[in-house]
């Protein structure tokens, strides 16, 4: 039963979501509802915006994983206990800063464009991954660690064979949160010329063309739901 759900989860749901996305694109390009919306709702442009959006999310998320994971492991080491506590508190405060502000601040220091947007997204999505890596590793029961040490395992072994595997579901949860946040923040990148589906939404709001808003909103929502679903499947695989 679980096996069947797993297979369905990896195939049916993603395909369904992709179909929704494809239909949305088709529908709005064929029915832009007016000359103004039609200027943006053409296949090359829509695909370009989707590509930009995906790139923003993928690049920043991978960078975030690559930095936050090792960092999280590092601060979980007993040697760095105090650093770990400090970082945890800093992260908690840092997460109250809204993603829009992080984007805007990055803009003032780095100017506009795709790279700035990626930088801001990377900064912001670091936090959930870092926090969950740290929390996940520290959540491993001390008695298990005792037992492992008793069996003569080296710290490296313990990390690789016990702590990380046990922490993986929590870490995956953090990655999932980070990616979903990134899709959302990437819609804001349009204000600082980062491109992405936000272009459609914001233009639609400005010239009051519902078709533009819906096209951008539905596509970005589908992207978010799709990535969230795929990652929850991955989370279940490791759990």
């Amino acid at each position: 039963m679980r096996q069947r759900n797993r297979v369905l989860g990896w195939t049916v749901m993603p395909l369904f979501l992709l179909a929704c996305g494809a239909f949305t694109i088709y529908y709005f390009v064929e029915n832009p509802g007016g000359a103004m919306a039609a200027r943006l709702l053409i296949y090359p442009n829509v695909f370009k915006l989707i590509q930009q959006h995906v790139l923003l999310v993928v690049v920043s998320s991978l960078l975030a994983i690559a930095t936050a994971l090792p960092l999280g492991i590092l601060i979980s080491r007993p040697r760095f206990r105090t650093l770990g506590l400090v970082v945890e508190n800093v992260v908690n405060v840092a997460q109250t800063v809204p993603s829009l502000a992080v984007l805007a601040l990055a803009f003032t220091f780095l100017g506009w464009g795709f790279n700035t947007a990626v930088f801001a997204l990377w900064c912001y999505s670091l936090l959930p991954i870092l926090r969950n890596t740290y929390a996940g590793i520290r959540s491993v029961s001390p008695s298990i660690l005792e037992a492992a040490r008793g069996m003569g395992m080296t710290p490296g072994h313990i990390l690789g064979r016990i702590e990380l595997p046990l922490a993986t579901p929590i870490i995956m949860g953090g990655i999932r949160t980070a990616v979903v946040i990134n899709v959302g923040t990437a819609t804001l990148a349009t204000f600082i010329a980062g491109g992405g589906l936000g272009d459609l939404i914001v233009t639609g709001i400005g010239v009051r063309r519902t078709e533009l808003i819906l096209a951008g909103a539905i596509l970005s929502a589908v992207l978010a739901i799709l990535l969230d679903h795929l990652l929850s499947q991955a989370e279940a695989e490791f759990g």
Partner: protein
């Protein structure tokens, strides 16, 4: 354990790809144009401009309106769109290209008021109508500059100017009439004009609800049409093409005003009060030094240079 080897390798590969992707993402094409969201779709905007002048930019980057000036100034794009009365054009060393084919209509701003509100308070016509005729191009550019370059608050700038023109007293009386809901779009000039309306009305004893800073032409216009706001400053050209849906731009200020106000009164019960003399037209800008070096003074020159590459 194998899972983790695999994961680690995937991460390293991914990181590499990510860095490569980041750097290679910006393929440098020559003629990239920076535009704001509205200009990229409006009938008086980029697509039709390119049609009329017979050229096309290699790539178009969309960003928030105010960012276009900085992008051009910093040398990151060769051309950008803006508004002609923005204080930053001169200050940033930018130049407006001449619209020799007269693609853009004229955009004289005027306070537009709902007829219903004007009927109830006819004195509003004189109060708000006094502002426009005193605003010429240089004044507006200067006021815009105070906000965008000096960083002053737009409300303070509006108030200071009204005081200097003896249009308001330093202390506003108690609000006994109204309330009047004043709106405006979100960019600096609109914020200043909106603030002027607010102070002028308050000075005349009205209670004013400040709804300035609405995002975009359509939001402001719909708000007016539906009575969510009672007045805002609109540009004749914008109203003619976007709100009233015409196709041909009008290039004479007086003619534009007469036609727009007549039609808006008849169809939408909106009254246009006295307009300001300055024309806040869309403009295609380049860096001055760059334009001179390439021998470009008009949009036709630009089209020619791009097509002849």
């Amino acid at each position: 354990m194998r899972k983790y080897h695999w994961l680690a390798i995937a991460l390293v590969v991914a990181l590499t790809l990510a860095l490569v992707g980041c750097g290679g993402g910006a393929a440098d094409e020559e003629w990239v144009f920076a535009t704001d969201h509205e200009f990229s779709v409006r009938p008086d905007g980029l697509p039709d401009l390119q049609n009329v002048y017979g050229f096309q930019f290699d790539d178009v980057i969309t960003m928030d309106l105010g960012v276009t000036y900085g992008a051009l100034k910093e040398g990151q794009v060769p051309a950008a769109m803006g508004f002609a009365t923005d204080g930053r054009i001169k200050a940033f060393g930018l130049v407006n290209l001449v619209d020799d084919k007269q693609f853009f209509p004229v955009y004289n701003p005027a306070p537009v008021v709902r007829a219903e509100v004007l009927g109830e308070y006819p004195e509003i016509e004189e109060i708000l109508g006094a502002i426009g005729p005193r605003l010429d191009t240089d004044t507006m550019i200067e006021l815009n500059g105070l906000v965008d370059i000096e960083g002053q608050d737009h409300k303070q700038v509006a108030k200071d100017w009204l005081l200097s023109q003896n249009l308001i007293d330093p202390e506003a009386p108690e609000g006994t009439k109204g309330p009047i809901k004043v709106g405006s779009k979100e960019f600096t000039e609109q914020l200043i004009l909106g603030a002027m309306s607010v102070f002028a009305l308050e000075n005349a004893g009205f209670t004013v609800v400040d709804q300035t800073g609405l995002q975009g032409t359509e939001v402001a216009r719909s708000a007016l049409e539906e009575g969510e706001i009672d007045t805002y400053w609109e540009y004749t050209g914008t109203a003619w093409l976007v709100a009233l849906g015409h196709e041909e731009p009008i290039t004479d200020s007086e003619e534009a005003f007469q036609k727009v106000s007549a039609e808006d009164l008849e169809k939408n019960e909106l009254v246009w009060l006295d307009y300001a003399q300055f024309d806040n037209t869309y403009t295609i800008m380049m860096r001055q030094a760059d334009a001179e070096a390439k021998g470009i003074t008009s949009i036709s020159d630009l089209a020619r240079v791009i097509n002849e590459r």
